[in-house]
Amino acid sequence: MNEKPSTLRRLDESGVPLLLARLVLGGVFIFLGAKKLGDPVEFLKQIRMFHLLPEEPPVFLNSVAIILPWLEIFTGSALILGTRVRAAASLIVLMLAVFTPAILMRALAIRAESGTPFLDIKFDCGCGTGPVIIWKKLLTNAGLFALAIFGVLSRARRFGDPPTAAVTPPEASRKVKAPRHEAAAKLEPDRGPRPTPVSTPNLSTP
């Protein structure tokens, strides 16, 4: 007897949670990228403060300031348009994984230097929103990180990347419809169980 998919799995495969995550994440990153583009020099000054890259040679630091806002806009747009979703979400995971700990480290350094209570620490993290209360920023980033991870791991591709050539039309159709027509699927012996996680990667392969 086939195992009944969990409610969470069915919810994921409906595509709605991923669509919402994409819209939120995409909107936020397009907004933040556009804000950074408004004052790239200020962004350059702020990322220098994280000491993630050497100042000499300057090409690395300057290139990050030139490219990153556009990369945020590109990844945000890809998420909203529903194309290259997994790649865009992966890049956002990477960006957040680099900058969020850097923000935390800088906040801790400020606390050690000035004795300011952690919850009162406020500075411009170069995120595009000006000076912010840092614990709130970290919390927001954690939320965005969770959404991006979901974007990478989600099996749903409804409302987004179309089924790829590696998947035959009936399989692709079954993948989308199965959660909503559980009873009908059981009546058709040739359909078998829902694709397992092992088979998932093929669905988005060209």
């Binding site: 220098r48 300057n62 865009a88 992966s90 998932t200 392969t205």
Partner: protein
């Protein structure tokens, strides 16, 4: 595995698009243009005026050695700053210059802050020159600097470093003699704290 490869390929493609558009848009920008190979955060002048020894960050020149006879020992701080090679000028000295109309004629104040912050208030008569876009203000600054004995550079005060970078730009790009460039480290914060006039 195929999914991982496709994801990596797509991510690389997004990065290439981002980089291409980023560099192209940066080239087309008039305001906020970043030169990829320029070190905006170098505190030491690279091309000092011939005949004037340029100090290095490692061995800052004492301000007492300034060849500017008008400066006087009280006009500058005695201790050389470990973080930059420029001669600093104290608030008292700046205020004294500001209150003396004769001396004020020989002084040019340069505000190194952003345009929007400058617009909210600045030292009366100060001209604005953002160190990251110094070339754009070059004509106006050069005209104002003609005949000036002292060029006093300031920014927000506190941990603001833009005035230091502007000092370097003045010496490197504008070829202002090192001895005429004074860094007012207290900056806008100290100026307003002492209830000095603003414009």
């Amino acid at each position: 595995m195929k999914t991982v490869r496709k994801t990596l390929a797509d991510a690389a493609m997004l990065c290439v698009f981002g980089a291409t558009l980023g560099f192209s848009a940066n080239q087309l920008r008039e305001s906020g243009h970043i030169r990829p190979l320029k070190n905006y955060f170098d505190k030491t002048p690279q091309h000092p005026v011939p005949g004037v020894a340029a100090p290095t960050t490692a061995s800052p020149v004492s301000t007492k050695g300034s060849d500017d006879s008008n400066a006087g020992p009280s006009a500058v701080t005695d201790a050389a700053h470990p973080d930059h090679p420029y001669q600093e000028i104290s608030f008292e000295a700046v205020a004294a210059l500001f209150d003396d109309p004769v001396q004020l004629d020989q002084v040019v104040f340069i505000d190194a802050r952003r345009e929007d912050v400058y617009a909210q208030g600045h030292i009366p008569g100060a001209i604005r020159c953002y160190p990251y876009e110094a070339e754009r203000s070059m004509e106006k600054v050069m005209a104002d600097l003609e005949g000036a004995d002292k060029v006093i550079v300031y920014c927000g005060g506190g941990d603001c470093e833009d005035s230091i970078f502007l000092c370097r730009e003045l010496i490197d790009q504008f070829e202002v003699p090192y001895s005429r460039v004074f860094l007012y480290a207290g900056g806008w914060k100290e100026w307003t704290k002492n209830n000095m006039p603003v414009e």
